[in-house]
Symmetry: C2
Subunit: 267 residues, 2 copies
Amino acid sequence: MAAMGLDAKPLQVAHAYQMVSAELEARILDGRLRPGEQLPGEVEMASLFGVNRSTIREGIRKLETEGLVRRASPRKLVVSIPRSRDLATRSSRALRLLEVTFDELWTTAIATEPLAAELAARNADAEDIARLDANHARLTAATASAEAGAPDARGEIVALDTQFHSLVAAAGKNRALMLAREPVGFLLYSGMEALVPRLPQAPGRQVDAHAGMIEAIRAGDPARAGDWMRKHIRDFRRGYEMAGLPMDVPIAPLVPGGARPGAEPKA
Amino acid sequence: MAAMGLDAKPLQVAHAYQMVSAELEARILDGRLRPGEQLPGEVEMASLFGVNRSTIREGIRKLETEGLVRRASPRKLVVSIPRSRDLATRSSRALRLLEVTFDELWTTAIATEPLAAELAARNADAEDIARLDANHARLTAATASAEAGAPDARGEIVALDTQFHSLVAAAGKNRALMLAREPVGFLLYSGMEALVPRLPQAPGRQVDAHAGMIEAIRAGDPARAGDWMRKHIRDFRRGYEMAGLPMDVPIAPLVPGGARPGAEPKA
DNA sequence: TCTGTATGTTTGTCGGACATTACTAAGGGA
DNA sequence: TCCCTTAGTAATGTCCGACAAACATACAGA
């Protein structure tokens, strides 16, 4: 007796705390509440909306999580614009949970990263370049100490590489691209963690590529910057292949055996 | 007395409800809690964590908003993977609040959309193509009624175009790309709402481009599909130029004067 | 077997309470 | 007059207890 003229409709009941967050969200999105503006206290809101303070608090939790409001100080709740960083973190987490493959990430990156580099060559200012230089200096140092056998330099190399690409994107001044590429880059470059120990020459090649890219960006040469990036990304894939790492399996497998120490699946 | 040997540390106090969500989140991310698994009731959790039920509820609200848990039924709280749709919606909202320009969106799209089309030509299955056909049929109809003077066909055209591009991306079977391009596409194609009334021939050209793309995808010809998409996206920009719409201002201005009714651009 | 009812459980919401800690304003010293 | 200290106020974070509505399960009846 499935069909009786109507499809399965979700028809979710409207709970009070959902209405609170929905109402505030609507006011933020249509501009009645503007970023930076301070919201009333919980008690006042409770009386305004005619609900209990607990209910207000649950609604606020939701908006807080979405990044539409933020605590400027422990007492001040202000309207805010979601930070790209948080959004990227969440997307990244989702991609990990979706168990996307290296290949999916790489294919996306080969489209977005060179564009980011080209834009960076066009739009980078002195500060951007300074940041890139600083990053590169640290990467050079970390690579040296990794070659010297430092055990924990690997994680730093990954972090610095991830940051380098974010900096390039930021220098490009395209916020849509930044937001789109960030989660992909974050996850993709984390794959280098597995690459380094099997391909000792990888970090060196990386240092060269970064240097070339910074040079092209500094010179304001979009084509060359894009080429360096393409080469860099292709090189990454080749390294992955040479290291014998599989490209059609999840970057970060969802718990093959569990977590670190004991992690026995409970009966 | 600023410096006493330490930089300004964030040092945000760990509130109980944050620890609840953080703890559950950690268990989900490292696999101790698996997608689909059901969580204990609120009372039980409260005693497990040694906090009050209200506190548990606030923590759950956060996880719910992040999409890491979901209510399967009003009584069942299960672990889940964040839905791309929600993530895209949120990113889209953020981009709108950031007041990204048409140019930023377009520049990103010209990199991602052709790739999506190429992948679609490679990976689309029968169902994907059926969905594209269905979408195209509706677009054709909507365009016809728009040309006949139907007032509200404009919104449907925008919705169908947005959906078309999502379907193409979905047919490409690259989840990273889908997630990256969705918010950009959503916002970019909404710009067509303003385009249609000033450029009556736009929908017609669009119908042709979509048809060509579907044909290329059906034929499994990545290069041709990509070319159609590039042409389609470039055409969109040209249309925007010809219509005299500015490309370096926010797509969706944050409340020029307020909400729908008047909506005349203020001086 | 299917349907309807009774019981128990869980969520959503409420009201009130209290400790801690930001903010504020009054007061004292230079 | 201005600055610093100090007390007071108010808001948040957390807790407790309570209740209605909804849902799930078991059971009785057709």
